[in-house]
């Protein structure tokens, strides 16, 4: 089943020349299905409240939506600022081909995070309060400001890409503002990635000592940095399949090696932290937290390091494994901090939390929406740098400038 949708904008004659396309494949239908289900659940949540749609309770005020949509979403979208740092600030031009794609993923990730947050918070219509009522002692205050500003910055950054196709007049102004936006766009995520970790530092005595440490912000920051490469590998593989576009192995390999460097730093810090706080016994107690902690480190950090610095990373398979392991490691880490780390404390008097089906639907739905949006944008804008499809010529003819900017 193949559907070509052509949207002709009626806004003005100028727009009529722009053609939008979106090809529906079975996978995209699945995404659409999940997304619709999620929207239905979200509507129910807004009408009937959180109690009707989630299993959250007074012992577990934070659950899947916070951990998956926010903690994880922000971390996995962390590839954007890392790539921006490497490409634009450090000028490792070799990685330029993946820059736009990584930053788009990041943007979509953040939009999902913001959407997820709006659904997650109780009084969503009050989301703007922290702008006027400054709770500046709160770590969340920083997270809030950084995430919201960064999302705006990212949208502007993307506008720079977007104006290549629509509202072309604004392009050169956006382009001029790019360096400032890039600097802010790297500063903000480094701040809030670490702050997300610091959030849990306030829960003194509640989080398992394996995860509760003064280094929490550093760990969160580092892991959000190194997971970026993993995400780019996975994403480029998937996008490569869907959009018939492949990123060259040396590019990915270089990225993976940078990421593995950060991992080594992370691992060393973890070990130092354990030595300083004397939590070795906890780590090797082989109860649930210990097993989770060890597998998180082994599969999510140590094995990826080995892959990165061995010949394994010169094959696509090796790279994919690196990506899968790294991403799973960070997913595990974020879930561990909340669920494994706090489970014992929060369940001590019989509390319990298992996410409701509706919670999973919303989380998956948000991801589906992001995937659909990515596919749409990647098909219609110059994201992947190389349009392998037949429509590329089409656009190039219409817009002469396009060809020159697309490297």
């Amino acid at each position: 089943m193949e559907l070509v949708t052509t949207v002709v904008s009626r806004a003005g004659a100028k727009m009529s020349s722009v053609r939008w396309k979106f090809r529906m494949t079975p996978m995209r239908w699945v995404f659409t299905g999940i997304a619709s289900a999620a929207i239905a659940v979200i509507l129910v949540r807004f009408v009937l409240g959180l109690g009707a749609t989630t299993n959250l309770n007074d012992q577990w005020p934070w659950g899947l939506w916070i951990s998956f949509d926010v903690l994880l979403g922000v971390a996995l979208a962390g590839g954007g600022y890392g790539t921006a740092l490497i490409v634009y600030v450090l000028r490792r031009d070799k990685f330029y081909p993946i820059a736009r794609s990584a930053m788009l993923t990041s943007l979509l990730g953040y939009i999902v995070v913001v959407l997820g947050l709006l659904i997650e918070v109780g009084q969503w219509f009050n989301f703007w309060r922290p702008y006027v009522s400054w709770g500046h002692a709160s770590v969340l205050f920083e997270v809030f400001w950084c995430i919201s500003c960064y999302t705006v910055i990212q949208i502007l950054e993307f506008c720079e890409v977007g104006t290549e196709k629509v509202f072309k007049g604004a392009h050169k102004y956006l382009k001029k503002a790019m360096p400032v936006m890039l600097i802010i766009g790297i500063t903000l995520p480094t701040l809030h990635q670490s702050s997300l970790g610091q959030l849990f530092y306030l829960m003194v005595g509640k989080v398992n000592p394996l995860w509760w440490t003064a280094f929490l912000p550093v760990f969160f920051l580092l892991s959000s940095f190194f997971v970026g490469a993993g995400m780019i590998v996975i994403e480029s593989t998937l996008a490569g399949k869907a959009l018939n576009h492949k990123v060259e192995i040396p590019v990915l390999r270089g990225l993976v090696k940078i990421s593995a460097g950060a991992m080594i730093l992370y691992l060393m810090l973890k070990i130092t932290d354990m030595v300083v706080r004397g939590t070795f016994a906890n780590a090797f107690a082989f109860d649930l937290p210990s097993i989770m902690f060890l597998s998180e480190l082994t599969f999510g950090v140590i094995i990826p390091i080995i892959i990165a610095f061995s010949s394994l990373s010169s094959t696509r398979k090796g790279l994919i494994w690196f990506g899968i392991l790294t991403v799973s490691g960070v997913i595990m880490n974020r879930f561990d901090v909340l669920f494994t780390g706090m489970g014992k404390y929060l369940n001590q008097y019989g509390g319990s939390y298992v996410p409701a089906v509706s919670e999973f639907i919303v989380s998956l739905g948000l991801v589906s929406i992001a995937c659909l949006a990515y596919l749409f944008l990647a098909e219609n804008f110059n994201i992947l740098g190389n349009h392998g499809s037949e429509h590329a010529d089409d656009i190039e003819i219409k817009d002469g400038k396009y060809a020159s900017t697309a490297k």
Binding site: K14, R129, Y131, V132, S133, W134, F167, G169, A170, Y173
Partner: protein, 526 residues
């Protein structure tokens, strides 16, 4: 192309300025409207309600006390609906000042709340938050079971209380209508607790004579044991005075034991299929029927399948509720008679329902038991023991014995004073009648609630009604009751015979270990 670009710029600049201006305006407005300002107490959630202090207006009800007594959720007799409680403190007032229970123990408590189940707090509660534990459904269930013989007994005082629930004046005697209503509700047999009140007089009177003559090595004065609230009070606070309590059961428990033995035998009913209900003016009776000792029929018949002597106790209010729920037009009911065998009572039995009544009845029969002659007419109107004073004394001259000094007490705070006096060795009496509730059973915790706070005026009207029944009764001495004569002839042989001891007498347990008694007066709770 250039002009187009120019348009785009001017448009975006204008809209940019618009946006910035708008945003700042919104920000300023929000700041002016208080966002970002420190919040003040009135912004906090809650705090707009009502407190008992605001209820402190002059009126009939003393309102100086606030808070409330603790009530165990497992309490067999009394429950409280928190939603109706207004913390006026009336329950504390009555429990501490009138019944001397609350505040007469040291803190911390050990395990259980000290409660004698008297139910006076129910009568004093102005909002109806405190009430009896509702057992109506258990009775409806038994009534609906065709295999079960439901036998009911009614206490002396319910007949002069029940009418108030149906709009009749205080103290209206509705004995006949009550019987008719019970039959209409489907009770198979309707007996009168007045019968066992008479029986109690025989047993207790005989016991008293034996104590006085020294045949029974139990101390004098002998104290009545009809009132389960009072009995529990002694078990809690004066365990050393337990030997002074008469070993005779209360009329309710005597009737219950006999229903499952004597009645079952006479009418050839399977005691296992008898469901015994009693209608009482009392909440403590709900506790009494659950005492492990109150299982004589099962013991006597040696059959563990026989349920306790009294299965369910209903208060007068609960009976009224049953009648109302069933839709019976109470006031137009005909007058009916109690069933024979254990349904006949004398005037002496009916005055059990008021303070001094047991004493008066006992004196009449004691005269007979000691002298073998009918008491003189003067003893049919023993005024010194009538009335609402908390402690009343009388001396009755019985030929051959001389003056017998007796005391009548109602209200547990009064009882406490007299008990302390007794412990100090100052007890000139031979026999003492003590009732937990001021005024006796007629204003017990299970009687209809008046619209006004409990008053001696209402107590006197109810008591007058009981005395009126006594005055008009054909038989006014317990020993003259033909059914009493019959039961001794057919079943029990004689007062305090072996069988009577087994079925009609009981023992008591000390509850002194349940709490720490109050040490001295200055250690008041508040």
């Amino acid at each position: 192309m250039a002009s187009k670009v120019g348009k785009v710029i001017s448009l975006s600049r204008r809209s940019f300025l618009k946006f910035v201006g708008g945003a700042s305006l919104v920000g300023v407005t929000l700041n002016l409207s208080g966002c970002g300002e420190p919040i003040t107490p009135d912004k906090a959630i809650g705090g707009n309600g009502w407190m008992p202090t605001q209820y402190n207006a002059p009126g009939n009800w003393p309102t100086s006390v606030r808070g409330r007594v603790p009530i165990d959720p497992e309490n067999p007799a009394i429950v409280r609906d928190d939603q109706k409680c207004i913390l006026c403190g009336q329950c504390i007032e009555v429990c501490e000042k009138i019944q001397s229970v609350f505040g007469n123990y040291e803190l911390p408590i050990k395990k259980e709340f000290v409660c004698v189940n008297c139910g006076q707090c129910i009568q004093w509660c102005p909002s109806g938050a405190i009430s009896e534990r509702d057992d109506v459904n258990k009775v409806f269930k038994a009534l609906a079971d065709p295999n079960v013989t439901v036998v009911v007994q009614t206490a002396p005082a319910t007949r002069i209380g029940l009418g108030e629930e149906f709009g009749m004046p205080v103290g209206t005697n509705v004995q006949g209508k009550q019987v008719a209503a019970l039959r209409k509700l489907g009770f198979d047999v309707v007996f009168d607790t007045n019968f066992t009140a008479d029986l109690t007089i025989m047993e207790e009177g005989t016991e008293l004579v034996k104590r006085v003559t020294g045949e029974l090595h139990h101390p004098i004065p002998q104290m009545t044991s009809c009132c389960p609230g009072w009995v529990k009070f002694v078990e809690y606070f004066y365990p050393e005075l337990i030997p002074n309590l008469s070993s005779a059961k209360s009329p309710q428990q005597m009737e219950g034991a006999l229903i499952k033995t004597y009645f079952a035998e006479k009418k050839e009913v399977d005691p296992k299929k008898i469901f015994s209900v009693s209608i009482m003016p009392c909440t403590a009776k709900k506790f009494e029927c659950q005492r492990p000792e109150m299982n004589s029929a099962s013991k006597e018949l040696n059959d563990s399948n026989v349920s306790p002597d009294v299965d369910v106790v209903l208060t007068t209010r609960e009976l009224a509720r049953m009648i109302k729920r069933t839709g019976i037009d109470f006031s137009s009911l005909p007058e009916e008679e109690y069933d024979k065998l254990m349904g006949t009572g004398t005037g002496a039995g009916v005055i059990f329902g008021t303070t001094g009544g047991v004493m008066e009845a006992a004196v009449r029969s004691a005269y007979y038991l000691i002298t073998g002659q009918q008491p003189p007419v003067a003893l049919w109107n023993l005024t010194p023991v009538r009335g609402m004073q908390g402690v009343k004394e009388a001396a009755v001259n019985i030929p051959g014995v001389g003056d017998i000094k007796v005391a009548v007490i109602s209200g547990l705070a009064n009882a406490r004073k007299v008990m302390d006096q007794m412990k100090a060795g100052n007890a000139p009496w031979a026999f003492m009648e003590i009732m937990a509730c001021p005024g006796g059973c007629e204003y017990g915790g299970g009687q209809p609630r008046a619209s006004s706070p409990p008053s001696d005026e209402d107590r006197n009207r109810r008591a007058a009604s009981l005395y009126n029944i006594d005055a008009k009764a054909k038989l006014r001495n317990s020993h003259d009751n033909p059914e009493i004569k019959q039961i001794y002839a057919d079943f029990l042989t004689a007062p305090m015979s072996e069988k009577a001891e087994e079925l009609l007498h009981t023992h008591y347990v000390s509850r002194a270990d349940d709490f720490i008694p109050k040490k001295s007066e200055e250690n008041k709770l508040y």
